[in-house]
Amino acid sequence: MAEKDNFFVKNKSIITFLILEVVALTAFNFGNLSYIFGIAGGILAVAGFAFVFNTEKDKKALLWLLLPVGLLLFVSALGSFNGYSKGIQSISNVALLISLPSFFAIGFFLRKLGDVKPKTVLLVVGGALALITLFGLASTLIEYGFFYSLIYKDRPIYFYNGMPYDVTKEMYWLSGFEFGEVYIEYGSIFAILCASFLPGLLFISPKKDRNEFIISLAIGLVGFLTLLIIPNFKAILVLAVASAFGLVYKYLSNKPNAFKVIGGAFIGVVGLGLLFFILALVNAAIGFKFGGVLARIFVNNEIMVGPSKVFAALFYKGGKNLFGLQAYVSNESTLLTDTHIFEVELLKEVGIFGAIVFIAFVIMMGYFMYKYIRNSEDTKQVKTTFVVMILSFFAIASFSWASIVAPHNELSYVPFLRNSTLLVVLFLLGYIYMPPTKEKEKEHE
């Protein structure tokens, strides 16, 4: 047994390295091959389990891991068996089934292995995100110049393959192994994750922690400048709101009431959003009976046009699509409507039950994130960066998500659950996941 332990202890740095490498490649979205890294994540999750199980005395934490992994497995199973079915897409389905729970699990295992510091994990993930964002920033500047979405808004049209396209809606990005046009919303997801490194700088000194400060600043600036040169005001606003957490944490953390008030306001906003979402769904379920002002609020406006099509499709033919729209990658315009709201995209991909479970997972993670802030021994800078990254991601995904990536190809459809940035965020969530441990319980007793 001791020999066995010795093997796992000796070699855990290998598994640590591999986890970091796979996560970094996923964050870089290397070659648009996130499904390959998803499968690699699955293999590493199995290996990580063996290592943690053999080195970690706290087996109860592993049991707690089953809860989020189980929820993610349910969602990914619905996503896998609904939609793609042929050729490489079947590999993609297997990858989806494996990748969501696996990336959460490898985040959790990496923390348990304890071979690298949290700030190192952040810098690896941030570095990879910043690298692809830097390519995007440089190529966007070369192709479009500064502030192009403002400068050219009156004459925004250029022609590609004979058809008119709007230059203010796109940016340049390394997509696969070549640069090309992507929607601003797509590139901005990477950029906002990088920019989320900036609030953490409030907690470190540029003199004492010079290197860490410079690297974090560089990652943050790459993201922020990318949003600024477009400029993508929506993303900057989302970033500002998420970054407010850093200010609150810095200046009001010794005032418990402040946290309660802000937490209450946050829950209130999320609750209102959910209520709106439920009412819009109910309206669709009863055949869009809301009239007058209610119809204008829940159906007939710029934001709700796309979602309404999805809601209608969801309840079409006696609920046949309640587990997700069949063959959602098709030429049917309803299915390819980009709603820009990840909750609605989930309805397309995994139906109403899958969406509810995923949203429940996110809310549960909100609770564990709160526990992480309160109980973790990580530095405030690390905690702030993790939290702002996660908050920014789900906020931007709620308001400005891009499922259709390339303007020149409306079939360049990357479902929410198959987006590489989601895998990265699930990894981060797994890394900060703090289930109750025996030690904590004893302390509590």
Partner: protein, 278 residues
């Protein structure tokens, strides 16, 4: 020096930033409801090229066919091979989709002239946006790359007028002359010009989406065997049908005659077939 580096880098980006924003247009560019606003009148500065020699081709005859029915696509001889010419650019089996220049060279995909290289060879719903509306003065353009070789040349077009609906100038056989020139780079300062004159080509006018497809193999005299080194082209046309035009004295192919109704050439596709570019 270190402090200056980021500023220098940003300046380079700023100076370089022009590729996608060089030529931008308003929302309905070349697709306005008003006919006259849709003319493509760009004549790039090829007239400034120093032309050393001018040649005319082709020696062999060209072929043309009017295409009117999806169910009965015509067969044309392209590069000695009989090919079924069909119009739908979306289906893989079809001619435009398989042979468009954008598919060969991505650089042809950008700009208004990309309408001519996109594989959409006929007016049909969304494809109507793919037309380039020409006055008889035509247009001239530099290629984004240099042509090394091609096996055949061709184009798809129809006529269109600004008569209100119901008063179409519906002739399926209006005679038109075309003049298509290529500018061959010889050395740093000199160019050869090769012009193909295609006379009495019959084109449909205001007859639904019907188009005529014209093609020929670019054989020349002994001096040339191919269009090696072409860097630019120009394209002109004129009506050569006094009899039919006489039935509509209020109609002209001259865009500058504002008081009359206008007849334009709707050019859908230009084929520089099986070509290699540098």
């Amino acid at each position: 020096m270190n402090k200056r580096f980021p500023i220098l880098l940003m300046s380079i980006f700023a100076l370089a930033s022009c590729a996608k924003t060089n030529r931008l247009y308003d929302d309905n560019a070349y697709n306005h409801a008003e006919f006259d606003l849709n003319y493509y009148l760009e004549w790039e500065d090829i007239d400034e090229l120093n032309i050393a020699n001018e040649y005319q081709g082709p020696k062999s005859d060209f072929s043309s066919c009017a295409y009117s029915s999806e169910d009965d696509p015509p067969h044309v001889v392209i590069g000695g091979v009989e090919t079924e010419y069909t119009w739908d650019g979306e289906k893989e089996t079809q001619f435009g989709y398989n042979n468009n220049l954008s598919k060969t060279e991505k650089k042809f995909s950008y700009g208004v002239t990309s309408k001519l290289f996109d594989g959409r060879v006929r007016c049909e719903s969304l494809y109507q946006k793919s037309r380039v509306q020409l006055d008889k003065s035509g247009f001239a353009m530099y290629f984004p790359k240099q042509l090394l070789s091609t096996k055949y040349l061709g184009f798809a077009c129809r006529g269109g007028t600004d008569y209100p609906q119901g008063q179409e100038f519906s002739h399926n056989d209006l005679n038109v002359n075309f003049e298509w020139s290529f500018y061959i780079h010889l050395n740093t300062s000199e160019y050869n010009k090769i012009t193909y004159k295609l006379n009495n080509v019959k084109i449909p006018v205001d007859n639904g989406g019907n188009t005529t497809f014209v093609n020929f193999t670019p054989y020349f005299d002994d001096t040339f065997s191919e269009l090696y080194g072409a860097v630019a082209m120009s394209f002109r046309w004129e009506v050569n049908d006094e009899e039919k035009m006489a039935t509509r004295p209020d109609l002209t192919d001259d865009y500058t005659q504002k008081e009359k109704h206008h007849l334009a050439l709707m050019l859908y596709e230009v084929f520089i077939g099986d070509s290699i570019w540098h």
